[in-house]
């Protein structure tokens, strides 16, 4: 174990893409955790999807041994966190295990929405914050301007901010020295009963369920019988160690240290993050406060394209869930899509990532239904129902009123895009609450129905601001709304997967848009196909796909039969993969594309 005064625990926090993971690379490299040959870019982003998209999804912890200028060797526990708002819960967990944070700010982009959201969380934990102005190698870098922004907008001193280029390795030593000299060491009592925070857990194919912990008091050793205070379960510790970032076994973890244990636990679901770990005998009597529970905000149905794949989907979702406890799922049946799952996600990126992982890692073809939020319906008999799925929408005569979740959005943007952003928020039923200017940039506060955000708000925002605007939100509760269910009918038959709950005032525009899209996405058939959007029996938008007029092979003689037959068989198979509504075959791409609204 390491003496408390020689331990430093810190998170790296920032807005998305400001260079956290790249800075972590340099810190690992500088302290010799990995050799040149073992190094790769953003080495901690080890999931395929992280590497491909160049973003961090899961927080990662590494221990570095650093011999400082004062001649002492320190144990630095570094936690690299994701910057995207969907994964903010990863940041909050990491922060709870640390005494300080490196606040990375891109020298060209400056302070952005997630910079603020994350630093405020860190301040709430009473952390020592070390501002790091990164990417100073960029021609557009304006470190002085950014320094002023940190002081004016974030409100913390930045005169001693460290200037770095994580990419070209400038300022790395200075960062390490700042960690050692400015971030306080942890406290803790080695002789007190064991008290450790369960920070995270995941499934490792070799080690099984791995638990990341921060020891507060006491000592954790191999062979100990431990108890999860909240869960109530007991386990035998069979491994104790840390990531350097290679797995390194240790004899023990003492107070103030961060590391992992394994304890022959079968499923990640058996471990609750935020739980307190203590010994079975002579344990602590009071648990740590734990974490706020993460709640799904966006829901959608996932169905296998081929109904025969349902079991495979069930298994795959189960296995994926082993590694990501942040999404929820329950079985769902749809009249036309068959058996599938209704899943809950932390946001749209999260949805997209889970869907992509299922498709790629588990080789499944999926149909995703329209994303939806959770509505609260008060029925005429006074009872309350929660609606996760437009398909469950009851007969409206039984609904007294409906409420929908609202969020408070903070948007941060260069001046020039402000006009279009205000219009976007206005169009989405937004209520402006704040508008402040700070040197060429504006910070806008809006209250918005979450429903309006789950579709394409983020994409629209990015596209109208050429990627410069940033966006963060928090939920602010339910508000009553004039909400209706809009059905899409193809050849007079409702397509359940396309039904959605919309605000009455917007139903027509959205219905029209969806009908127009479907018109392009559904191939022509032998007959003409009406496509309608309707609320109840009232049609609010309509398009027609005209009938096909020619489809015949010109030449077909004795030598062509075999080929023609194969073609016909292939055609039949293709049709079998489509979904039939009112004798119309809808290709699965049509569902996905139709729901991806807003992209012109």
């Amino acid at each position: 174990m390491t003496e408390l005064s020689k331990i430093r625990n810190f998170s790296i926090i920032a807005h998305i893409d400001h260079g956290k993971s790249t800075l972590a690379d340099r810190l690992i490299q500088h302290t010799g955790g990995l050799t040149e040959r073992e190094m790769s870019e953003q080495v901690l982003d080890n999931m395929d999807i992280e590497r491909e998209r160049g973003i961090t999804i899961k927080a990662q912890t590494v221990r570095l041994d650093y011999t400082a200028k004062d001649g002492e060797t320190y144990e630095l526990n570094l936690m690299d966190t994701p910057g995207h708002v969907d994964f903010a819960y990863e940041v909050s967990r990491s922060l709870a295990a640390c005494e300080g944070a490196l606040l990375v700010v891109d020298a060209a982009q400056g302070v952005e929405a997630q910079t603020l959201a994350n630093v405020y969380q860190s301040i709430e934990h009473d952390h020592e914050i070390v501002p790091v102005i990164n990417k100073i190698d960029l021609p557009a870098a304006e470190p002085d301007k950014v320094r002023a922004e940190i002081e004016d907008i974030v409100g913390i001193p930045a005169d001693n901010a460290v200037l770095t280029s994580a990419k070209s390795g400038i300022g790395i030593e200075e960062v390490l020295e700042a960690i050692v000299t400015r971030i306080p060491p942890p406290g803790g009592d080695r002789d007190a009963p064991l008290k450790a925070l369960l920070v995270d857990s995941w499934y490792d194919p070799y080690l099984g369920v791995v638990i990341l912990i921060r020891v507060i008091d006491g000592v954790l050793k191999k062979g100990m019988n431990i108890r999860f205070m909240q869960q109530g379960s007991q386990h035998l510790v069979d491994r104790v160690g840390c990531m350097k970032p290679k797995i390194t076994q240790l004899p023990e973890l003492g107070p103030g240290e961060i590391g992992f244990i394994t304890a022959q636990i079968k499923e990640v679901a058996d471990t609750a993050v935020g739980d307190t770990i203590t010994t079975v005998k002579g344990g602590a009597d009071k648990a740590l406060p734990g974490f706020k529970e993460v709640q799904s905000v966006v829901f959608c149905g996932l169905f296998p394209v081929d109904a025969a794949d349902f079991e495979k989907l069930r298994e795959s979702i189960g296995r994926l869930r082993l590694n990501d406890a942040s999404f929820t799922f329950e079985m769902e049946t749809s009249a036309a899509l068959g058996f599938g799952f209704r899943c809950g996600f932390l946001g749209l990126l999260h949805l997209e990532i889970i869907q992509e992982r299922l498709t790629r890692e588990y080789d499944l073809d999926l149909i995703t239904t329209a994303p939806s939020v959770v509505y609260r319906m008060t029925m005429t008999d006074g009872s309350v129902q929660y609606l996760h799925n437009p398909a469950d929408y009851p007969d409206p005569v039984h609904i007294d009123h409906m409420e929908e979740p609202w969020i408070k959005a903070t948007i941060y943007t260069p001046d020039e895009y402000l006009g279009s952003i205000l219009k976007l928020c206005q169009d989405r039923r937004g209520i402006q609450t704040e508008l402040t200017y700070v040197g060429g940039r504006a910070q806008v506060g809006y209250e918005l129905p979450l429903n309006e955000v789950v579709f394409d708000f983020y994409d629209r925002l990015k596209s109208i601001s050429r990627g410069y605007a940033s966006f963060d939100y928090e939920q602010i509760g339910l508000r009553e709304g004039d909400l209706v269910k809009m059905n899409i009918l193809v050849n007079n038959e409702p397509v359940d997967a396309l039904a959605m709950i919309v605000h009455r005032g917007e139903a027509e525009a959205r219905g029209r848009q969806l009908c127009e899209r479907l018109k392009d996405l559904i191939p022509r058939h032998l007959f003409k196909i009406p496509i309608q959007a309707a609320i109840g029996a009232k049609v609010i938008a309509r398009e027609t796909i005209s009938a096909m007029r020619k489809d015949v092979t010109a030449k077909c003689y004795g030598g062509d039969i075999s080929r023609k037959k194969k073609l016909l068989e292939k055609q039949k198979k293709g049709k079998a993969k489509m979904r039939e509504y009112g004798n119309v075959s809808i290709p699965q791409e049509a569902f996905i594309a139709a729901l991806r609204m807003g992209e012109e």
């Binding site: 096909m548 007029r549 015949v552 092979t553 010109a554 030449k555 004795g558 055609q571």
Partner: protein, 350 residues
């Protein structure tokens, strides 16, 4: 080659003995460049192996070039009684676009010779070319009908994958005609040929009554045909046969095995039913489902999806009269899509 062809034919004859021979078709490549004496020998052999029908039809496919036209007299003497000329267009620019070696003048001279030498003459034209106007096609068709042949094959241009056309389209050199306009070209073709007394009896084939190609009717009515020679396909009862395509491979196969077969594929009853249906519905006369079902051992209603059929009947695309099924005027240009709707892949057996 002559000996190999004769051996190949003998092989088929031994497997299909005692049948009546309704037609012979020399096609594929340039059969009109075969020595007329060889043509005569092959006809002789065929009519010896099998019993020739009294009105046996013997067709030869030819390019409308002066070289080939020069052999027509001899070919006629050899026994050929019908010729099918690959004219393709009556417009020089179109011929160039289609990559043909002949020009219109030469082609018409060849047509003249053919009409002098043979009782029955057919030629083909390709239409619905990129940029072609309906008026231009109508004029070309009128002219074609004016030559007085008893048979015409009129094909819409199809851009098939792997052809030069397909890569030209990909490179944006021309755009294929859009389907709606092509449908109008098709309709206009139907009306004009009908008026001239050569109605369509198949998707792309038109004839004066009685002048239909008996040989091709065998394909569409799903009869047996022996495929002899390089690249030839055949249907020997339930067996789909295919010969080696490259002449050198064909020759060495015959030397080795006594026949040029590359492939013999036993078709299941459901495959045969499907083939019979997709060929039969090309004909204006359509098919008899009861006859077909009993031929392949299926329940009378099993070959097609009856719901789909009655739905398409409702849309005016199919005519169904008891066991008789055919496409309507509006349905005929939509055959492929209709087949995909109505054909059952695994019909229920009786």
């Amino acid at each position: 080659m002559a000996a190999a062809l004769l051996a190949d034919m003998a092989h088929e004859a031994a497997l299909m003995p005692g049948r009546t021979l309704g037609s012979i078709f020399f096609g594929g490549g340039t059969p009109s460049l075969m020595p007329p004496t060889l043509v005569a020998r092959l006809i002789d052999a065929a009519t010896t192996h099998w019993t020739p029908a009294a009105d046996i039809e013997i067709t030869l496919e030819a390019n409308p070039s002066s070289v080939e036209a020069a052999r027509f007299a001899d070919l006629s003497l050899a026994g050929v009684n019908r010729v099918s000329l690959g004219l393709q267009s009556l417009d020089n620019a179109a011929l160039q676009f289609l990559g043909r070696a002949h020009d219109v003048t030469e082609a018409l001279a060849a047509l003249d010779t053919a009409q002098e030498q043979f009782d029955r003459v057919s030629f083909d034209l390709i239409y619905a070319l990129p940029g072609q106007t309906l008026d231009a096609w109508q004029a070309e068709l009128d002219r074609a009908l004016g030559f007085g042949t008893g048979h015409l094959s009129l094909y819409q241009l199809t851009i098939e994958q792997g052809t030069r056309f397909a890569s030209d389209v990909r490179r944006g050199e021309f755009a294929p005609m859009d389907d709606d306009l092509a449908a109008e070209f098709f309709a206009c073709t139907q009306t004009n040929t009908e008026k001239a007394g050569l109605p369509a009896y198949e998707t792309s084939n038109h004839a004066r009554p009685g002048q239909e190609s008996r040989h091709n009717l065998t394909y569409w009515r799903y009869g047996d045909y022996a495929g002899v020679g390089p690249g030839a396909h055949g249907r020997r009862r339930a067996m789909a046969t295919e010969r080696h395509k490259k002449p050198e491979n064909f020759l060495s196969a015959v030397a080795r095995n006594g026949h040029g077969l590359r492939l013999e594929n036993a078709l299941s009853l459901s495959e045969q039913a499907m083939e019979a249906l997709l060929m039969g519905l090309r004909l204006r006369e359509g098919v008899r489902l009861d006859v077909m079902a009993s031929r392949f051992g299926f329940a009378p209603d099993a070959l097609v999806d009856c719901n789909a059929v009655s739905r398409l009947q409702g849309h005016g695309l199919i005519i169904r009269n008891g066991p008789h099924l055919a496409l309507s005027e509006a349905g005929r240009p939509l055959l492929d899509a209709i087949l995909a709707d109505i054909v059952t892949i695994e019909p229920v057996a009786v």
